[in-house]
Amino acid sequence: MFSNCSRNLTSKFSNQLKRLQSSLVIAEHNNEALSPITQNALTAAKKIGGDITILVVGTKCGPAVEKLVKAEGVKRVLVAESDAFKGFTAESITPLILASQKQFNFTHILAGATAFSKAVLPRVAAKLDSSPVTDVIGIKAADTFVRSIYAGNAIQTLTASDPIKVLTVRGTSFEPSSLEGGSAASEPAPAGDYATDLNTFVSQELSKSDRPDLSSANVVVSGGRGLKSGENFKLLYDLADKLKAAVGASRAAVDAGYVPNDMQVGQTGKIVAPDLYIAVGISGAIQHLAGMKDSKTIIAINKDPEAPIFQVSDYGLVADLFKAVPELTGKI
């Protein structure tokens, strides 16, 4: 009886609170295109409630801004375009976010949990003397968040007491928000001298691939140590191409030098949750499962019937991958 009563109170209370919130979402883009994870971050901001402002920062913001002004449920888009932001360095972007915060007094500053935002947002939070919450998988109230700890083996719910909440949200835990139906105004972000000599961007070596992006692909084919070499990954590329899938890897495969690190799925790599995840020659260590166990359907191909991966897979095939994978590729 009491619990019912308090629930009603909370929901009234949180509705009032929701109207008082205002969020700043930091868009992610590469000066050419908007990253899809920005749409997941927008959904998280809507769960918090209140006004939503998006900040687009970079050396060329046009392509991202063009998309975001049409995003549903967005009040304004702040644009900061300058050579000062070359390489998206945390040292140049932090003062810009602080200036935006000073002008608009947001209650929440958030972004999708990526290498970019994980580098920038804790720096911002420290400047605001706020304890940030990374990789949020659920929002229960404007101050109460759910996140996974211990490589996803425990789920922690916490209430953050700092007045300004700084969050990164796990893309796979929030549906993408629509980029249609909105008509936000775009305006320049607070001006300032954001050039920094603390850090200078030198160069980038990006892995080129025609396959879908690993973090947002509907189907992922991943290989582990069982592939035995980098050349043998071709078996997976062929299968992936048939399924229009992205290709991932376990840490063991990365450490052995079979594939580059940006393909790593796991606790300290990328977290994916596709409709279909096919794990080939992967034993299923705790750290790998952390990155893929929210996939809708998991298929494991491994010759060891005792491999822990079979405890999480919906369909398991105990077979030699060197025979099974080409056969599967041939039959679809």
């Binding site: 590469n30 360095t89 945390a90 040292e91 932090t94 970019f116 994980k118 580098a119 947002l121 804790p122 939070a125 420290a126 706020s130 304890s131 940030p132 990374t134 996974s148 700890i149 211990y150 490589a151 083996n153 425990a154 789920i155 719910t157 916490l158 209430t159 953050a160 700092d162 920094t196 603390l198 850090n199 200078t200 961007f201 030198v202 160069s203 980038q204 070596e205 990006l206 892995s207 189907v219 399924l243 840490r251 940006d262 606790q267 300290t268 990328k270 279909l276 705790i286 750290q287 166990k293 359907t297 919906d314 369909y315 398991g316 095939l317 105990v318 099974a324 056969e327 039959k331 679809i332």
Partner: protein, 254 residues
């Protein structure tokens, strides 16, 4: 010659399958194997290599936590660190100790010890926060080189290769700086028995956050810690044909 500070955290060993406490307020830590956070081992290794290359003059390891945190400081000393600092935080205070507190502690120690480089792991494998390096750099107004897989020290700057989502990037950052170590930065060494014996003689200074003037009052309240949803056990299929059938059934292939 740089003076290097390394942050090390004592965490439940990476291979342990953790258990959530019956009261749903945390995970069981009593009687569970603990060791140094794997990313911090990499940070320590990098610092020692800097000393071996004669670019670092002294390496200090610091850990914030209960009395047992001294074990990971000893491990760092056995790997080749010169001296240790143990900032004692225990009980309920440790339960709510967050990167924001640790970063303030590290920043204060860095100033006290005239540190040029702070190296910490990219994240602790218990709270999975990935915040401490970035926040320490912010408190000190130093540049940050996060998720580093290669570090080269020049005269007044570092050239760092960073692991980013699409591949790698190279930055140059001024010294003093804060580095966070990614897995591919190096292969940490094992401490040999003679070095473990020698480490027993190396000094560990004890202090408290209060001594450093750092307020560690909680910024969060833990509401609950629960088991994640478990997946239904699946089925083992006899052959590739049945797998193809299942893919068709699931609408993954036409």
């Amino acid at each position: 010659m740089a003076r290097v500070l390394v942050g090390v955290k004592r965490v439940i060993d990476y291979a342990v399958k953790i258990r959530v406490k019956p009261d749903k307020m945390g995970v069981v830590t009593e009687g569970v194997k603990h060791s140094m956070n794997p990313f911090d081992e990499i940070a320590v290794e990098e610092a020692i290599r800097m000393k071996e290359k004669k670019v670092a003059s002294e390496v200090i390891a610091v850990s914030c936590g209960p009395a047992q945190s001294q074990e990971v400081i000893r491990t760092a000393l056995a790997m080749g660190v010169d001296k240790g600092i143990h900032v004692e935080v225990s009980g309920a205070e440790y339960e709510t100790l967050q990167p924001i507190h640790v970063s303030k502690i590290l920043a204060k120690i860095a100033q006290k010890e005239n540190i040029d480089l702070i190296i910490v792991g990219k994240q602790a494998i218990d709270d999975d926060s990935n915040q401490t390096a970035q926040m320490t750099a912010a408190v000190l107004d130093w540049p940050q080189a996060t998720f580093a897989s290669k570090v080269e020290k020049g005269e007044k700057e570092l050239t760092v290769t960073r692991e980013i989502d699409g591949g790698l990037e190279t930055i140059k950052c001024k010294i003093p700086a804060v580095i966070s170590a990614d897995l591919r930065l190096n292969e940490p060494r094992y401490a040999t028995l003679p070095n473990i014996m020698k480490a027993k003689k190396k000094p560990i200074t004890k202090m408290t956050p209060k001594d450093l003037g750092v307020d560690i009052s909680p910024r969060i309240k833990i509401v609950s810690v629960e088991d994640p949803p478990t997946r239904q056990a699946g089925v083992i299929l006899p052959d590739v044909d049945s797998l193809v059938a299942k893919l068709k059934e699931g609408g993954h292939i036409p």
